[in-house]
Symmetry: C2
Subunit: 153 residues, 2 copies
DNA sequence: CCCCCTATGTCAAAATCCTGACATGAAGGA
DNA sequence: TCCTTCATGTCAGGATTTTGACATAGGGGG
């Protein structure tokens, strides 16, 4: 007689908390909370920090490009950029001679703020990475990426 | 002479997209988007579906317990529950003889709606799980859990 | 040259979520 | 008993984000 439920498809678990989606949400929520708390002391929100970090590594990104990179809508990113502009952390030209995309750049003030906030965020990242065997880091990163890709992210 | 930066701590990568936090956010955003799209055809939002699923497995949960289980505030969960009540998918007593917590239960209508939506969500979950080697599923779940725990989630 | 398609920035309105606050009910200790 | 503490449900306000829509700029193809 053969086993029923051949390969109990790894998944439809009996408990919701065993689902990948639940764990993913839990980890993301914990990260978001920790970053919120840490960044508040630096006067930054999570989307604002994400913007500064991206602009530091890839200066000249436009609003739409930043939005795609941070997984929010253009409209949301627009208000974030306005906030950063009002705080003099980034600069954007009012017009451009070619196209509509307005390239954003960090100001000196923005670079300083980013440097200060980065250490706090990196400490959080370190806490996460240290929570599991280091030899699994590469696989974890790869698997998260594959999941996102499979879902059309 | 000793090495500088002993153990280039696995992590501060040169590219933001190599960070665990970024990958986590990306995967969570992709999952959220896929679930949003799939659940819309069933007339449910993601928090609403999460509620129904939890109440199916653990009937009688209170508003505060549901909020903690889904990683949102009591206030947010309260409006979700009101929506579900107005749609006659769950029921909550107006009063209780002991304590303040109001236990929520699925209605027959709610169970039917959940059954319909569940297949769509499980298909998404399946897509995610199939995106990486099955032998890594257990480790992935465990590592996500450890990360959340380390961050105080 | 003109039309179609795409991408971008922006505005307006709505939905969603969170912060802060308050009142009630239960439990435990002085 | 009384009081302190904690957890819960709820209200009000504001902040954030999304949905929907519109106008503009550039690239191709007819």
């Amino acid at each position: 007689m053969k086993d029923r439920t051949p390969v109990p498809p790894p998944h439809p678990a009996d408990d919701v908390t065993e689902h990948v989606g639940y764990r993913l949400k839990r980890a993301a929520a914990a990260l978001r909370g920790a970053m919120d708390k840490a960044l508040r002391e630096h006067g930054l929100t999570v989307p604002q920090y994400a913007c500064l970090e991206l602009l530091d590594q890839r200066p000249g990104l436009s609003n739409a490009e930043l939005a795609r990179s941070t997984f929010v809508t253009r409209q949301s990113m627009n208000v974030v950029l306005r906030g950063l502009q009002d705080a003099d952390l980034i600069s954007r030209p009012a017009t451009t001679d070619h196209g509509r995309a307005l390239p954003a750049h960090l100001t000196e003030h923005g670079r300083e703020r980013l440097d200060a906030a980065r250490s706090a965020v990196y400490a959080i990242e370190r806490t996460m990475v240290d929570a599991f065997p280091q030899r699994r880091l590469a696989a974890l990163l790869a698997d998260l990426d594959r999941m996102a890709e499979a879902l059309g992210g």
